[in-house]
Structures are given as structure tokens and as C-alpha cells.
């Protein structure tokens, strides 16, 4: 049971910074992440220094907000701001992209395995904006990037996403269903989700 609690997955995404204001130290978390990712890594990434965490189908399902009961406890409207992107570029490309974005906005970057932490240098309304981008491997040619605000003002985070993050990630990420519609490409119908460029 203790092993379960100590496991990084339980600490991931449950940062109570917004609600309780006590940021958790992530040092031990990253150490355990490192150990975990070497056990479960499936993809061959000889060039990448990062080893993203591998997801099985139940891991994927557990990402659902419907399962995330921490939503019951979040008191204010400041939901933990997060968004997900999917890409079939390797993790190293995602990291470089994030580093590029960070540079343009003078953000500090810290990376450890599948987690990239960005921290703004400017003092915002609620302190410095800090963002976590976690990279998960779904299949060897498909990754999910979960971007979450870990500190700072939600509006600033949303502005950052809209102005910097999304436009930059667009070239490497698959469009979401909504973005496909906006880009006036033929909309994806629910029954035909096949995307020819994906090859397993």
C-alpha cells in the first residue's frame, strides 16, 4: 500500500497549489518518475534524453475528468487549468518546441524525464506563472502532452496558452477535433477517426 502512495502517478496532477497554497517539492517525485519510466518505457528514443512515461489503456482512461474527484474539492472557479495535445513527433521534438516557446517569453525551463517545467520571470497577479508540461507515451508513435498551470494566475496562463503555446505546438501536434473545424478542414465524423499519417 505504501508503494502505491509513493508512486509518482498519485502525485502527478494532484498538486494542491491552487487550493491549499502549499506547493509540493517535486524532487522525490522526479526521482521516482525516473525509476518508473525506465521500467515501462516502450519507445525507442536513442537521441532523446527524456524518457516519457508510458501509458496503458487504463492509465489513459484514468486521465478523464469524470474520474478526477479532486474536482469536488476545488473550492473556487479556478479549475486547475490544463489542456492536452497529441502528437506523433518524438518526445525530443516536443521538448525543443517547449524550450523555444519558453525562450520567446523569457521563461526558465527545467526538465526531468517526461516532465518539462516552465517558470515565468515576470511577477504576475498571483506571482510567477509556472507551467508543467508532461509528456506521456500512448504508443511508440503517439504522445500526449498535458500542459497544466502549476502556479500563478489562471487568466495569465490562459493568455499564455492562446498566444504562445497553442500556435507554437500547432505545427507538431495533431489538431484537436475542434481545431480541425476552425481551420475549415473537413470535419472529422465520429465514425471515421482514421488519420492516414498515423502508422503503427
Amino acid at each position: 500500500m505504501d508503494k502505491l502512495i509513493e508512486h509518482p502517478w498519485f502525485k502527478k496532477g494532484y498538486k494542491p497549489a491552487v487550493m491549499l497554497g502549499t506547493p509540493r517539492s517535486s524532487n522525490s517525485l522526479n526521482d521516482v518518475q525516473a525509476a518508473f519510466s525506465t521500467d515501462h518505457k516502450e519507445a525507442e528514443e536513442p537521441d532523446s534524453p527524456l524518457k516519457p512515461v508510458s501509458l496503458n489503456a487504463f492509465d489513459i482512461i484514468s486521465l478523464s475528468k469524470g474520474f478526477d474527484l479532486s474536482g469536488l474539492f476545488e473550492q473556487n472557479q479556478e479549475q486547475k487549468a490544463s489542456s492536452r495535445f497529441m502528437t506523433h513527433k518524438p518526445a525530443s521534438a516536443i521538448v525543443s518546441k517547449l524550450e523555444q516557446i519558453a525562450e520567446t517569453e523569457s521563461f526558465k525551463v527545467k526538465k526531468q524525464d517526461g516532465l518539462v517545467k516552465l517558470q515565468g520571470s515576470k511577477e504576475g497577479r498571483k506571482g510567477q506563472l509556472a507551467i508543467d508540461a508532461e509528456i506521456f507515451e500512448v504508443t511508440p508513435s503517439c504522445y500526449v502532452v498535458e500542459v497544466k498551470k502549476s502556479a500563478g494566475d489562471t487568466l495569465e496562463y490562459e493568455r499564455f496558452c492562446k498566444k504562445d503555446l497553442r500556435p507554437s505546438l500547432k505545427d507538431i501536434c495533431w489538431s484537436t477535433q475542434a481545431e480541425e473545424k476552425n481551420a475549415s478542414l473537413p470535419p472529422l465524423t465520429p465514425s471515421s477517426k482514421s488519420i492516414t499519417r498515423n502508422a503503427i
Partner: protein, 220 residues
């Protein structure tokens, strides 16, 4: 409101339907009395958010999780159904506390494992079938507005099923699930809520003190 209390026959005008005494719930769950009292504060907020009857209805549950009561979510439906132990379409305070108890970080792993199994056994057959796993993966992708080809989904489902279904009968039984979860503990990541360890700080129960005094001396 006129609903009968399941516990005290005191008939307090303040206690909503389905209310159970914190001491009783604490004895039966992973929570302390103070934590149950704090949960009551949360429960009151949730159960009076749309239908003001002191019971958590599906739309109130959805509102709490998604900040909107509109729309449907497969996973929220599953959780709601499992919380609704009496199967009467609402979650009362006792059900709320008893079910949340399983999500306490200190709750027994066996309880979490069993709950997750029931969660994923969409049709309640006693097994997790491949179609159910596929349905859930697809639902997650839809929910997240992500696109993945059919064959990619199939690969993910096959891969995981291969790991879990050790007797290759096309379905995952409770024993296989237990073995799978022991090997891949991340599969239970959603079954623990660290928030529950800080609940008394998050929901100070000012009102409860007077309630407790009212109930002193009244036994179950």
C-alpha cells in the same frame, strides 16, 4: 422536505435526508469524526447546488466535476452509479462518505482495486470485456477532444488486454485485474485523492459544532 432520517429519530429540522452521524460514519470508514464533519460541509455545498433537497443529484455531481451540469460523461456516470449504493438515483451523505472513503490514500488497496474493477465493468457482467475497455478509451479521447486512428486505439487496447487477460479468454476477471494492478500500480492512480488528507483544513466545520451538541445523548 419531509424525508425520513435514516439515523436519529430526533427529527431535527436541520438534518437533510440520508444524514448519518459523523461518529458512525467515522467508525465504518477511513475518516476521523472531524473529517466526516468537514465532508459534511462539502456535501451540503454539493447537495444544494441545483436541486435544493440535500441530496446529490447527477446534475449536481456533474456540475461539481465539470463546472457545468450539461452534457454526459461516461466516467462520471460510472462513478455516480457506484456511489449511489442504494440505487435510488441520488447520493446521500452516508453513501457519499462511504464511497469517498475508498479514495482516501490510507484506504485498503483491496477496496480500491475492487472499486476500480466495478467502475470499468460497464455492463456489470463481473468481467471487464475488451469492448468495454475500447469504449472507455474512445470516450476518453472524445472527452479530451483528441484524435487517434482506429488502429491506434486497437493497438492500445490489444496491448493492455494482452497484459491483463492472462488466461486469454477475452475478458479480465477480478483475479487478473488484481494481478495487473499489482504489476502496474498506475492503473489505480485515480483511486486515491490526496485532498482527503487535508479535508479538515479545506472545509472547516463551523456549523457542525452546534449540530453535534444537539445530537449528544441521542444514540443510534
Amino acid at each position: 422536505m419531509g424525508c425520513a432520517l435514516s439515523s436519529s429519530s430526533k427529527g431535527s429540522r436541520r438534518a437533510p435526508p440520508g444524514y448519518e452521524e459523523p461518529a458512525v460514519l467515522a467508525a465504518q470508514t477511513s475518516f476521523t469524526v472531524n473529517e466526516v464533519e468537514a465532508l459534511y460541509e462539502l456535501y451540503k455545498k454539493l447537495s444544494f447546488s441545483i436541486v435544493k433537497d440535500g441530496l446529490i443529484h447527477k446534475e449536481e455531481f456533474l456540475l461539481a466535476l465539470f463546472r457545468t451540469s450539461k452534457g454526459a460523461n461516461l466516467f462520471a456516470d460510472r462513478v455516480f452509479d457506484l456511489f449511489d449504493l442504494k440505487r435510488n438515483g441520488v447520493i446521500d451523505f452516508g453513501e457519499f462518505v462511504r464511497s469517498l472513503s475508498i479514495f482516501h490514500p490510507k484506504a485498503p488497496k483491496a477496496d480500491k482495486t475492487a472499486f476500480a474493477f466495478k467502475l470499468y465493468d460497464l455492463r456489470g457482467t463481473g468481467y471487464i470485456e475488451k469492448e468495454e475497455l475500447r469504449e472507455m478509451v474512445v470516450a476518453l479521447l472524445d472527452e479530451s477532444d483528441l484524435c487517434l486512428s482506429d488502429c491506434a486505439v486497437e493497438a492500445i487496447v490489444d496491448n493492455t488486454f494482452g497484459q491483463a487477460d492472462s488466461n486469454c479468454d477475452g475478458r479480465i476477471d477480478p483475479d487478473e485485474w488484481e494481478q495487473f494492478v499489482n504489476k502496474y500500480p498506475t492503473s489505480l492512480r485515480n483511486m486515491s485523492l490526496p485532498y482527503l488528507q487535508d479535508i479538515t483544513a479545506a472545509f472547516p466545520s463551523f456549523v457542525m459544532y452546534s449540530e453535534v451538541e444537539d445530537y449528544s445523548g441521542i444514540d443510534k
